[in-house]
Symmetry: C2
Subunit: 390 residues, 2 copies
């Protein structure tokens, strides 16, 4: 039952398209030379439409977590009042980073699997004197829930006009429309191994004027993740420290593919999500996120009582399907299927088909072919049929 390349359906790292793989194997260049200068400029400019920003996009050599840390330490001082709105494990991490660096963090905890409610955020923000920043998650990778960022941002602005809005958009930016400037966001981060179809190792931070201004007085210590140092050297086409050159080659190629596909990128992710949800439901799985807050990039489902997950997942692995488990308090309780980056509709048909085989092997009460048929119907209902990008 060998599959020569697994169906890597985790929410990042995402599978690399052939031309991105080729880019990752390119020879090094001088990172203080003209070729790199052009590359850095092209990638940071190419990112801007996906962020929906005219402001600076800074390229960092780190994981997404490093970019979350950069968002905190470049804008805040110890003792600053911060409102965190964790809706899952990554929102929790964002809050923890602020705590570690000495912010006074108030948590508006939301049940995992739910989205944040704008009215609750407005009320919480209004109650915190001198609120300096609000930490929001765009797409919570651990639960497959997407927040309504424009509504949440409007609520924050309403209650606390001077508070910075810092957004973790790591796992959906690029896969869904996003409008940082129009929504009034101050700092937004993402990572190379998500929608950008590249290996992990680079994170990108879009920084607006209010965040830069806050940085002028922010006293949290920073050096490696200092955004201003990155901005200053970017003006000369360089990074302050040696960048992950090969990952940047890949992001450059990933962006080229995305630019060629245009709006089709968003339609493809929407179709993959609809197919995944229809297929999993037809198999009898209960999904963690309600339809109106469901992520376009990752879907989480409860592991039913009585299902031997290890045996079930063993069958999936033998068929070449790689899923992710739960994180934090959801460990052992859910599984997650990633449908972002290079995902195509046939990847999802194959994944649902493999899940169906595993369900039959484990004696679950399913009709052979029904789940794949449900995914097929969802694909046909999706307005756009999407082919593999050229």
């Amino acid at each position: 039952m060998t599959r020569f390349e697994p169906n890597l359906r985790i929410p990042g790292p995402t599978a690399l398209p052939p031309s991105v793989r080729e880019a990752g194997g390119r020879q090094m260049v001088n990172h203080r030379g003209e070729e790199f200068k052009a590359l850095l400029l092209r990638v940071s400019e190419g990112m801007k439409p996906f962020f929906g920003t005219q402001h600076d996009v800074i390229m960092l050599t780190c994981a997404g977590t490093g970019a979350l840390e950069a968002a905190i330490v470049n804008t805040l001082s110890p003792g600053d009042a911060v409102l965190a709105v964790p809706i899952g494990a990554f929102g929790d991490r964002f809050a923890k980073i602020a705590e570690v660096y000495g912010a006074e963090v108030t948590r508006l905890d939301v049940e995992w699997g739910q989205a944040a409610v704008p009215a609750a955020v407005r009320a919480a923000a209004a109650e915190i004197p001198g609120l300096k920043a609000v930490l929001l998650t765009h797409n919570e990778t651990s639960t497959g829930v997407t927040n309504d960022i424009p509504a949440l941002a409007a609520a924050v602005r309403d209650a606390a006009p001077d508070a910075l809005i810092l957004v973790d958009a790591i796992s959906a930016l690029g896969a869904v429309p996003f409008a940082m400037d129009a929504w009034g966001l101050d700092l937004v981060v993402t990572g190379s191994q998500k929608a950008w179809m590249s290996a992990p190792g680079m994170a990108m931070a879009a920084v607006g004027p209010r965040a830069w201004a806050a940085g002028e007085t922010a006293t949290m210590p920073r050096f490696y993740l200092d955004l201003k140092r990155h901005r200053d050297t970017a003006a000369a086409g360089e990074t302050p420290w040696t960048p992950a050159v090969a990952v940047m080659y890949q992001v450059d190629e990933g962006l080229r593919l995305m630019q060629a596909e245009g709006e089709g990128v968003f339609a493809r992710h929407a179709a993959a999500q609809a197919m995944t949800r229809a297929g999993l439901r037809a198999l009898g799985f209960e999904l963690l996120a309600a339809d109106d807050v469901a992520s376009k990039t990752v879907t989480a489902a409860w592991i039913p009582d009585g299902l031997d997950w290890k045996a079930f997942n063993g069958s999936l692995k033998r068929q070449g399907l790689v899923l992710a488990g739960g994180q934090g308090k959801l460990k052992g309780k859910i599984f997650r299927l990633g449908h972002l980056g290079s995902v195509t509709t046939d990847d999802i048909l194959a994944a649902i088909g493999a899940l169906e085989v595993a369900a039959l092997e484990q004696g679950l009460d399913v009709q052979p072919g029904a789940a794949v048929a449900a995914a097929q119907r969802a694909l046909i209902e999706a307005t756009t049929r999407v082919a593999v990008p050229a």
Copy 2:
């Protein structure tokens, strides 16, 4: 005069051997799965003989500068007395990081181009009450000077037995013999893009028991670069945040090549250094570092008065030879030729030949062929002749 792949003679990123390039183009895997677990274990174990340590080697997703920051923030508290011994731009950076995080840093500045003197380090360390750590540079990339680390470490131990010894070994580790445990070093860092023949994006930190113990009480804030979190997850074959998987594939392959070459790695670097110095001297260049402290991985030479460097370097570029300029206060005054990682003796012959052509073009008083002949003699004098690794 096209050259289809430049002779990339900068001190990192170093040119990637073909099999390392191939590794960089591999498909992603689940970074929470069995394949990655085996990879992480193999790479961190494979690093140990090059560090000369039995202790933990931690894999970080960052540039070398991030690892320098990790060395500081994981072992120290604000207000701690630190002795920095900068001998160039990177030693200066190491000191600055400690300052940014609130250490009380005493600098024992050494003239750029010189090595640190053990007796001076001993005297400086003895004068600082409650000295917590000494920051040393193994190989100063900006000047091409290698410190006598065992002698400096012994001097520190003599004057301040409880002080931690933190070592930036980024740009020579792997290219020269090193013995962290025997020399009594507490924390040593390196980076993927140097001797390891890989793309930038990962840094490695070897952490001894005294450094771990210091970490228990160290209060400098840290999250992304928290070494203990990395150690704890490494026990389960994972990294705490998504790692630079493709760079780790490359380091794995680079290590395989180095293990196959064995002691030849060190001989090859020694030969490349001797050839470079002989060739540059035959061209009339004055070298920054004296022979007894000269780096085995990078050679810096003064730009002579009257030489039009831009025209000279333009000739080198047209011939495909890429050199590095000076950094910090040496900017515009020196050039640097890197001979580390995948460097072979024919790379150096080609580089010296190209320099000779440029010198002739610029009307310098050189004898055609004399510099290449000097490099050839240096190669023949080197005890081992080294072939391209299989």
